[in-house]
């Protein structure tokens, strides 16, 4: 952990504690561990990144990679609910100059929904089935604004109209189940944006939607970000979605960041074997038909017994390339390999370039 910080500091990355924030959202060495009967679940294990307003960060990873827990931790939602009673969290989360890990739960609550808001994967289960859509948006507004119901309703209508719901003054009185999937997600977005949050976290916002609706929603998120100028985090497993919308990409594996950088570098010069694996696993509609996909062998790691050394080593085809079994004994540090491009891999720069150019890129 100290090593991580040291390296980071050397390249202008995570500063040692005690310093102020370096960005609008500055997450430093975030760890979120859940003690369970089976052992300690290290959902997030030392994650750092920055995000400025007006920028979009895409967090990519598979189930259990820790991407959702990261977003919940930023929102302060990780400790609420049955699972979070004994959660252990360390590190720093700076949002607009305020540190959230050490802040009191009530302070974080005041920011929640106001300065930072979240939209979820399945809008049907994420909205309360017994209250009208309008009621739920009005509630979200009135938590943070001392206004009467009428004013809040006007605001709700305004937002519903903005997210493209026809006849918003009538639809306000509908229940979530009376909306279509796409309309529900629009309403969710309206609810999240009702307080003009500066940080919007979207956790798999389009996974439950059809492609044509997904295109509409991604378009909407992009437009709204331009309009509101907020910082956006999109969490997804779909590389297509992040390619559409993100400025930066962070690839997570086993609770850690394995690669991070501007969207172009991640797609055109990926450095981590896991990122290569993701790109190879994906059938692509924009390329010539390939005969076979190149899957990542094996199964995702258990977060209780994360493999020692590099968490990816049991599945990595190049785990034996670096000498001395270092991939199994030593955890690789996140190192800068190019402009704002970081990767945590034991492979030498030459090996990575060679493998990418000779073995991976031609097959994609």
């Amino acid at each position: 952990m100290t090593e991580l910080t040291k390296t980071g500091a050397a390249v202008g990355e995570p500063t040692p504690s005690g310093e102020g924030p370096r960005a609008f959202l500055d997450v430093r060495d975030l760890k979120v561990h859940f003690p369970t009967d089976d052992g300690l679940v290290k959902s997030v294990d030392g994650l750092s990144f920055q995000l400025e307003k007006g920028q979009t960060l895409g967090i990519v990873g598979e189930s259990g990679s820790g991407k959702s827990v990261t977003s919940l931790a930023i929102m302060g939602l990780h400790r609420l609910g049955n699972r979070g009673k004994n959660v252990r969290m360390s590190g720093e989360i700076w949002l607009d100059g305020k540190e959230l890990v050490s802040a009191s739960p009530d302070e974080v609550r005041r920011l929640r929904g106001h300065e930072m808001a979240m939209i979820f994967q399945d809008p049907l289960s994420a909205m309360h089935p017994y209250y009208t859509v309008g009621n739920q948006i009005v509630e979200a507004y009135r938590v943070h604004h001392d206004v009467d119901k009428k004013t809040a309703r006007r605001r709700a209508v305004e937002l519903l109209d903005r997210v493209g719901i026809p006849e918003p003054d009538k639809r306000l009185n509908s229940y979530p189940h009376e909306f279509s999937g796409g309309m529900r997600q629009r309403a969710m977005i309206a609810m999240a944006l009702v307080n003009n949050p500066e940080l919007l976290i979207a956790d798999e916002p389009t996974t439950a939607l059809d492609v044509t609706v997904q295109a509409q929603i991604l378009d909407l998120i992009r437009d709204l970000q331009k309009e509101f100028g907020s910082a956006v985090i999109i969490i997804t497993h779909d590389l297509g979605v992040v390619a559409e919308i993100a400025d930066d990409i962070l690839v997570m594996y086993g609770g850690r960041c394995v690669e991070r950088g501007p969207v172009d570098t991640i797609f055109y010069e990926p450095q981590h074997p896991y990122t290569w694996g993701l790109l190879g696993s994906m059938p692509r509609i924009d390329r010539e038909q390939t005969d076979r996909l190149i899957p990542v062998k094996g199964q995702p790691p258990s977060l209780i017994n994360v493999p020692s050394g590099c968490a990816f080593n049991p599945r990595c085809p190049y785990a034996d390339v670096p000498k001395g079994g270092i991939t199994r004994t030593e955890r690789p540090e996140l190192r800068e390999v190019g402009g704002r491009h970081f990767t945590a891999c034991h492979l030498s720069q030459e090996d990575r370039t060679r493998i990418w150019n000779e073995e991976i890129a031609p097959k994609l």
């Binding site: 939602l77 929640r112 929904g113 909205m127 089935p129 938590v143 999240a192």
Partner: protein
Amino acid sequence: MISYIIRRAIAAVILLLVVTAVTFGIFFLLPRLAGQSPDQLAAQYIGKNPSPEDILAVKQNLGLDKPVYEQYWEFIKGIVSGATYNLGPTTAKCEMPCFGYSFKNHIEVWPQLVDRLPVTISLAAGAAVLWLLSGVAAGVISALKPGSFFDRAAMGVALAGVSLPMFFTGQLALLVFSYQLDIFGRTYVPFTENPSQWANTLFLPWCSLALLYSAIYARLTRSGMLETMNEDFIRTARAKGLKERKVVVKHGLRAALTPIVTVFGMDIGLLLGGAVITESVFSLPGIGQYAVQAITDNDLPPILGVTLLAAFFVVLCNLVVDVLYATVDPRVRLS
């Protein structure tokens, strides 16, 4: 919505008709099928050592010599529009709803039931308020801190509450608080006469009954809340920045209460048909006690009356629950 209510109401009426048919069958048809002659059947309505004249009179009065479907028709007609009985020299008009006469004391059944109903309602309503408040509250607190001391204690008490029979807890409460400490009275006084006396007598039965039920409700609420608090919409409510109390009550409890409403409707319906043991233990002159008396006396018409009344309440409460359900959960209205 209105068509839904009408549909449910029609279903309820049909259900009641079925219940009357079954009840009627048990009391009049089964003995016939089992080989009892109308005479033997009639004899039961008279008591020990009936004279042949008595039997004949009863037989004619009850129409026991008529075909079964005609008897059933008379029976239903009696309930709906009243009946006239030939009591030898005089005729008696039994006003609707007519459940016949007790053959022990020749008093109409229905007025007796009406007389006793307030007692049973008082008992059920008071206990219901108590057990809903205590059971739901205990369940919610337990669910919010599962595994905590309160949770374990509350669930322990709940287990005891379910396991201990009423004639134990009730008798014990009577012994301690009424006979020894003399805090609570033992003679039922109607609410209209003296409200404080009314509450004073009913307090022990309320608590004993509530202990039994709140135990069930605490467990029910706890499991419902545990499930609900893991729902996505709870996470959304928290993500809005709502205070935890509001998240729990407005978003969590509202959803968790729906199954409890169903069970509550059933329980109230059953209790209104007579809390037999509680009323006996505390000597409350309610429907349950009336039923016990009728059973010991082998007095069929009151038993029949109580059975039908109980069935009516259960059906009615279920109807109310269904309508309530549709009001609480907007998704139900569609189907």
